[in-house]
């Protein structure tokens, strides 16, 4: 089991008070807080060995390069990649997905080809495909969802028959918490020759994820949702796929040799990493992976299952509260979307803020999903390793107060 109190002691920000009350941070699906181990790793880089990577022959550059590449190795091991060469550092999940679309997609998709997405995708897994669709004349299909927020399997089977060239989907929905059966879907998709792209922004931080087990071809992850700094993310890609792809950005670092009229690309993964990278972010990400590995991802998942189960039960008892998504914690992660009576989600977020509680409100960058749910917005509470049942109680009490204030 995971020792929440010990974990909380590692997060300096959790000592903050908001308007005299202790901070109750329930917005980790948006971005997680950072433990002192991550903050210290970044501080150490700047105070002890700050230098550019892969360039200098001096001691500092050598140390920075070792730390930088060590983070890549850590992450490769963390998600079960065969080799670190399959990991490209990017800014975030959005950039990782854009890289897939504009390198792999642009080279491999043409007019009339279908790409299969789902109704619960984040905008970052819709808009880049739409941009390519406009450019290439490809067609986007969407797997339907049921009212409980799970993907409709018949809809998937029906659309897969259209032989899409790619299946790109969220492993865990940021708005509904739904865990999609990616492994089963990847198997079906591969049977028709589709390439499988997984948006793992909401899964890799919260549960054991193994790219070989999932049999996905690409996977996109953000560091900042898993205890690391903002501005660092990872694209995992199968070696043979990455090897055949063209870079989308040119510049330093990504080249082997440059002449006046032509150049040769660097080896994987640096071929896709033009310019000086986010060194502090990468080192922070390495420390975050170490931190999560020490806790154990099975323990993280179990802790979140427990707290989600408790929260769903307590929230269901709040009069007038509507929960979105499945109640089955085996099929969902720790982000819970809800609305309370006719209180707009933004009003709810503002009221909770006066109690020191941070939640997210709005369309969660998933407007097609909001249209499907027929709501303009939802409030979302999301949990992570440092959240407690007591915080769920504080949330429920504040919601009861809001209910009284709005006379629901």
């Amino acid at each position: 089991m995971l020792d929440v109190n010990r974990i909380r002691a590692d997060f300096p920000i959790l000592k903050r008070r908001i308007g005299g009350r202790p901070l109750v941070y329930l917005d980790s699906a948006s971005t997680s807080q950072k433990p002192k181990q991550v903050i210290d790793a970044i501080r150490r880089y700047y105070t002890e060995y700050n230098a550019n990577v892969h360039r200098g022959l001096h001691r500092l550059s050598e140390e920075a390069t070792v730390a930088f590449e060590q983070s890549r190795d850590n992450f490769a091991q963390f998600i079960g990649a065969r080799t670190s060469k399959e990991l490209v550092f990017v800014r975030n999940t959005t950039e990782a997905l854009n890289l897939v679309v504009f390198s792999w997609g642009r080279a491999n998709l043409g007019a009339g080809d279908h790409v299969l997405l789902t109704e619960m995708e984040h905008h970052s897994n819709i808009v880049p495909w739409q941009m390519l669709a406009t450019e290439k004349g490809i067609k986007l299909d969407y797997v339907k969802i049921d009212d409980d927020g799970l993907l409709n399997w018949e809809s998937f089977e029906d659309l897969i028959k259209g032989k899409p060239k790619a299946l790109s989907l969220a492993h865990v929905s940021n708005a509904l918490g739904t865990i999609n059966p990616v492994k089963e879907m990847a198997r079906e998709a591969h049977k028709v020759g589709a390439t499988v792209v997984v948006d793992a922004a909401q899964s890799v931080p919260h549960m054991p994820v193994d790219v070989a087990d999932l049999e996905c071809d690409f996977m996109a992850v953000s560091g900042h949702k898993m205890l690391a700094p903002t501005g660092i993310g990872v694209l995992y890609g199968r070696y043979d796929l990455l090897d055949h792809m063209e870079p989308v950005m040119g510049g330093g670092e990504m080249i082997r040799e440059v002449h006046l009229q032509n150049s040769r690309w660097n080896d994987l993964p640096w071929k896709f990493e033009a310019g000086t990278p986010n060194i502090e972010g990468t080192i922070g990400l390495g420390a975050a992976v170490d931190y999560l590995s020490r806790i154990g991802m099975e323990n993280v998942r179990q802790h979140e299952k427990n707290i989600t189960q408790y929260a769903l039960k307590r929230l269901a008892d709040v009069k007038g509260l509507v929960l979105y998504g499945t109640r089955d914690v085996e099929k969902r992660g720790a982000a819970i979307s809800f609305n309370l009576g006719d209180i707009h989600a933004h009003d709810l977020a503002t009221i909770l803020d006066t109690q020191g509680i941070a939640i997210r409100s709005g369309h969660h960058c998933a407007q097609p999903l909001m249209e499907r749910l027929k709501v303009p917005a939802t409030a979302r509470a999301s949990f992570y390793v440092y959240n407690t049942r007591k915080e769920v109680d504080i949330l429920v009490r504040a919601l009861e107060n809001a209910r009284k204030m709005f006379k629901i």
Binding site: H344, D347, T350, T354, G362, H363, P376, A377, N401, F406
Partner: protein, 138 residues
């Protein structure tokens, strides 16, 4: 428990919006959306020269945007367009009776933005471009 920005006036206007609905024979109207929240407000005006004879609004959104629009319609009825054009953030906060703070001020100002945009359409659609530009600059 502190009610923060949600004073009784705001909740009352949210629950019972004034001047809600279309205005018969309206000769000016506008509709705007707060892209961040998805709040939508539409206003219709019946202008007699430079005086606002009738005003109605419709839309959906949070309590702050809806109450603010409702309060503005009450305020603007019978006033001149010059009086409305002079209104700014401080006036909206005064009319609301509380300051929603930087994160939510856009919600409170949406009604005024739509009202001003509606006034700008009184001479026909050629004025619309200007109102869009003004809105974009805020």
């Amino acid at each position: 428990m502190s009610t923060g920005v949600y004073k009784e006036t705001i909740l009352d206007h949210y629950r019972h919006p004034r001047n809600y609905g279309d205005v018969p024979n309206a000769n000016a109207q506008a509709r705007k959306e707060n892209v961040l929240c998805g709040d939508v407000i539409e206003m219709q005006l019946k202008l007699d020269g430079t005086r606002i004879d009738a005003v109605g609004f419709s839309g959906e959104g949070c309590a702050i945007s809806m109450a603010s629009a409702s309060i503005l319609t009450e305020f603007s009825k019978g006033r001149t367009i010059l009086e409305i054009e002079k209104l700014g953030k401080k006036d909206v906060i005064r009319l609301l009776g509380s300051d929603p703070g930087p994160a939510r001020i856009e919600c409170a100002l949406l009604g005024l933005e739509v009202l001003k945009a509606a006034i700008d359409t009184r001479n026909g659609p050629q004025e619309k471009a200007r109102s869009d530009w003004t809105a974009g600059k805020r």
